[in-house]
Subunit: 96 residues, 10 copies
Amino acid sequence: MLFHVRMDVRLPLDMPPAQAEQLKQSERELAQSLQRSGTWRHLWRLAGQYANFSIFDVASVEELHNLLMSLPLFPYMQIEVTPLCRHPSSIRESDA
Amino acid sequence: MLFHVRMDVRLPLDMPPAQAEQLKQSERELAQSLQRSGTWRHLWRLAGQYANFSIFDVASVEELHNLLMSLPLFPYMQIEVTPLCRHPSSIRESDA
Amino acid sequence: MLFHVRMDVRLPLDMPPAQAEQLKQSERELAQSLQRSGTWRHLWRLAGQYANFSIFDVASVEELHNLLMSLPLFPYMQIEVTPLCRHPSSIRESDA
Amino acid sequence: MLFHVRMDVRLPLDMPPAQAEQLKQSERELAQSLQRSGTWRHLWRLAGQYANFSIFDVASVEELHNLLMSLPLFPYMQIEVTPLCRHPSSIRESDA
Amino acid sequence: MLFHVRMDVRLPLDMPPAQAEQLKQSERELAQSLQRSGTWRHLWRLAGQYANFSIFDVASVEELHNLLMSLPLFPYMQIEVTPLCRHPSSIRESDA
Amino acid sequence: MLFHVRMDVRLPLDMPPAQAEQLKQSERELAQSLQRSGTWRHLWRLAGQYANFSIFDVASVEELHNLLMSLPLFPYMQIEVTPLCRHPSSIRESDA
Amino acid sequence: MLFHVRMDVRLPLDMPPAQAEQLKQSERELAQSLQRSGTWRHLWRLAGQYANFSIFDVASVEELHNLLMSLPLFPYMQIEVTPLCRHPSSIRESDA
Amino acid sequence: MLFHVRMDVRLPLDMPPAQAEQLKQSERELAQSLQRSGTWRHLWRLAGQYANFSIFDVASVEELHNLLMSLPLFPYMQIEVTPLCRHPSSIRESDA
Amino acid sequence: MLFHVRMDVRLPLDMPPAQAEQLKQSERELAQSLQRSGTWRHLWRLAGQYANFSIFDVASVEELHNLLMSLPLFPYMQIEVTPLCRHPSSIRESDA
Amino acid sequence: MLFHVRMDVRLPLDMPPAQAEQLKQSERELAQSLQRSGTWRHLWRLAGQYANFSIFDVASVEELHNLLMSLPLFPYMQIEVTPLCRHPSSIRESDA
C-alpha cells in the first residue's frame, strides 16, 4: 500500500553543528537503507524548503507509523500523511 | 525537471452525466498519452477524494503550464504546483 | 486496518425533498449493511452538524476508497481521511 | 455521553529524557485505568503523529474537563473536543 | 449542562422575502419558547453580523443536537458548538 | 453595553509553580470582585482548554480595555473581543 | 465610542446593472448623511478592492448594529467590527 | 498618500521591565512627534489587544517603510500595510 | 512608486465562450497599452493557475486603484496589493 | 526559467548585533553578485516587512534550490517559491 508523506524539518537554531550533522547522517543512512529495501519508494526535495515529499510502500499503517517514528529527525519534523490508491487513469503498474 | 502537482476536481453538481463522462474520458486519454510519452511520470489518487497527486517531467515551466491548461478538466480543477529537485539522500536515479 | 473519516454533507438548498430523502435512505441502507459486515466499525454524529466521524476497518486503502466513492451522498460530501494505528497505551484488543 | 477528543502532544525538545519517560509512563497508567473503568472508550494513534483520537464516555462535561486537566501530559497538549451523539444510521448499541 | 453555540445565518440572496419572513418568524417563536422553558439560557446578537452567540442548558448532547436540528433556519446556518463547564473563579451559581 | 470575550491562557512551561499560583490567585480575586460588582457578567470554562468565554457589562470600550489590561494574566493571554447587542428574539431583560 | 469596521462588498455577478446602480446610490446617500451627522467619522477605500475601512462614532453597540443593518448593501457585505479606544500615545483629541 | 497600518506588539515575556519601559517611552515620543508633523494621521488602540490601527500620510511608499523601520518597537511587531484611496462616497476633504 | 499585485481570475463556468473571449481580448489590449506606457511594468503568469503577478509603476495609490477598477476582468478577479520599495541590496536602478 | 520567491526573515531577538550585521553583509554581497550575473533578476522590499519579493532566472529547479540554500540568511527565512511563465498578454521580451 502506498502513502504520500510530506516532512518539514525544523532544527533548533542553536543546535551544535556536529549534532545536526550526525542527525542528518543517521537519517540519510536509514533513508537509503529503506529505499534499497523498496519501502521508501520515492524521495524528492521541495525547492527552497528543508522539506521532502516521499512515497512509502508498506504492508500496513502500523509499519508506516513505526518507520516514521524511527527516523532520527522525527522529533524535529512536522509530518503530513495521505493514503494513496491506484488512479483509474494510471498506466504504470508500479504506481499501485 | 520534476514538478509535484495536486489537482482537486469539482464538477458542477448539475452537469449532465453524459457531459461529465465525456470530459473524464478525454482527460483519461490525454493523461494516458502523456504517461506513455514519459511527461506525466506518476499519477496517484488520494483516498476518499476526487483528487490526485502527480509528478510531471518537463523541459520548462512553460511546458508544464501549457500541459495543465490543455487538460479537459482544467476549468473545474484547483491546482497546486511545487517544483522538486533531487533529494541528497535519494538513491533512485530516475527521481531526478 | 483502521481509518478515521470525517464526512461533512452539504446538500444543495434547492434539492427536491423527495430526492434528498431517497439519497439519505440509500445512504442509510448501505451504511447499515457495511456496519453489519464489520467494515464500518463506528459511526457518530457531530452535535449540531450534518456531519459524522466514522471508523472503517478495511484490508487496503483501495477498499476504503472504493467504499467511500460508492456512498450515495459522496458527490455532496467533504471527506477527510486519517490513517490510524494501535495506540501503545490502548488496552482494547478491538481497537487495532 | 460521548465526546471525541483529539490530543496533539508537543514535549519541549530540551526536556530531559528521564522526565519525558516518567510523564509518558504516568500518562499511560492513567489512560489504562480510565480505559478499564470504561470512561476512556477508545484510543487510537494518528499515523506519523504524536497525537491520538479518543472517545470518552462521561456523565457530564465537568467530568470530561476534570479528566483532561488531570492528564500528566495536559500542559504539553493541544486539545480539541467535539460532542457526539448517536447517528441515526448507527446499528451499534454501544455507540451511544 | 451548558453549551456555547455560535450560529451564522446565510439566507440565499434570491429567497422570496415572504419565505424569509416566515422562516424568521418560526425561528423566533421556537427560540422564545425554548427561552421560556429555560433550555435556551442566553441569546445575543453579534454587532454587524447576522449571527448569534447562545448558551443552551440541556440534559444531554442528544437533546442539544435535536434542538439545533429542529430550528427552522438550520439548513441556512453554520453552527459551532463548544461544551462549557463551571469556571473555578465563577461566583454565579446559575453559570453552572 | 455587553462584550463577549474569549481568553486563552498560555503560561510559559518553565514558569515556577509558585509564581503561576500567585498569578492565578490574583486573577481569581480580581475576577470575583468584578463579578460581584456586576461588570464581569458571566464566566465559563471551555471544556479541555485553559480558556474562558466571558460576558462583560461596561459603560464604554475604554472601560473594557482598561479592565482587560489590568488582569494579572493579561501578558499570557490571547484575547478576542466581540461587541454584542440585544437579539430581537431574546426575552431575557438582563441580556441587554 | 469609536468602532473600526471593514466592509467587503460582493454583488452577485448577474445582478442587473440598474439594480446595482440604485443600491450603490442609496448606499452613498445614507453614507454621506451619516458622515454629515458625525456618526460615520471616516471612510476610506482599500486600493484594488471593493471594500472600505470605516470609523464610526456611536453612543452604543446597539446604535452601531442598527446602522450597519440599515445599509442598502448590507445583504451583500461581509463585515468585521473592532472596538477601538484612545491610544495612550495619541495626541489627537478627536481620535477618542 | 494614505496607508492603513495594523501593528501587533509582542514583547518577549522575559524582557526586563526597565528595558520595556524605555522602548515604549521612545516609541511614544517618536509617535507623538510624527503625529505633530502630520505624518501619523490617526492612532487608535484595539480594545483588549496590545495593538493599534494607524493611518499614515506619506509622500511615498519609501517614506512609509523608513518610518516603520525606525520605530523602536519594530523588531517586536507584526505589521500589516494596506494602501488606501479616497472613497467615492466620502465627504471629508482630509480623508484623501 | 511600485506595487506588487496578484490577480486570480474566476470566470463563471456558464459564461458564454464568446463573452469570455471578448473580455479577455479587451483585457489584453488594455494590459498591453499600459505596458507600453510603462505603468504596468511586469506581468507574469503563475504556472498552472489562471492568475498573474504584476508590478505597477504609478504616481499614487489613487492611480493604481483606478487602473485596477478599469480592468474588464475586475468583477471576476480576486486582487491582492502589496506596496514595494527599493531593497537596500538591489543594484538595479529600474527596480525603484 | 523564472521563479517568483518571497522570503521572510526572522532573526532571533537575542542574536548579537555584530553577528546579525555580518550575516546581512554576507547576504548583501551574495545578492549583489547574483544580480550582476543576471540570476537574481529582481529584488524588492515589502513595505513595513523584513521580507522581499524576488525574481530568479535559472536553468533548472536544482540551480534555484542550491542558490537559496546557499544564502547566509537561509536558516532564518521562510521561503515561498512560485514557478512563472510568460504571460500571453506580456509585451516585454525580458519577462520570459
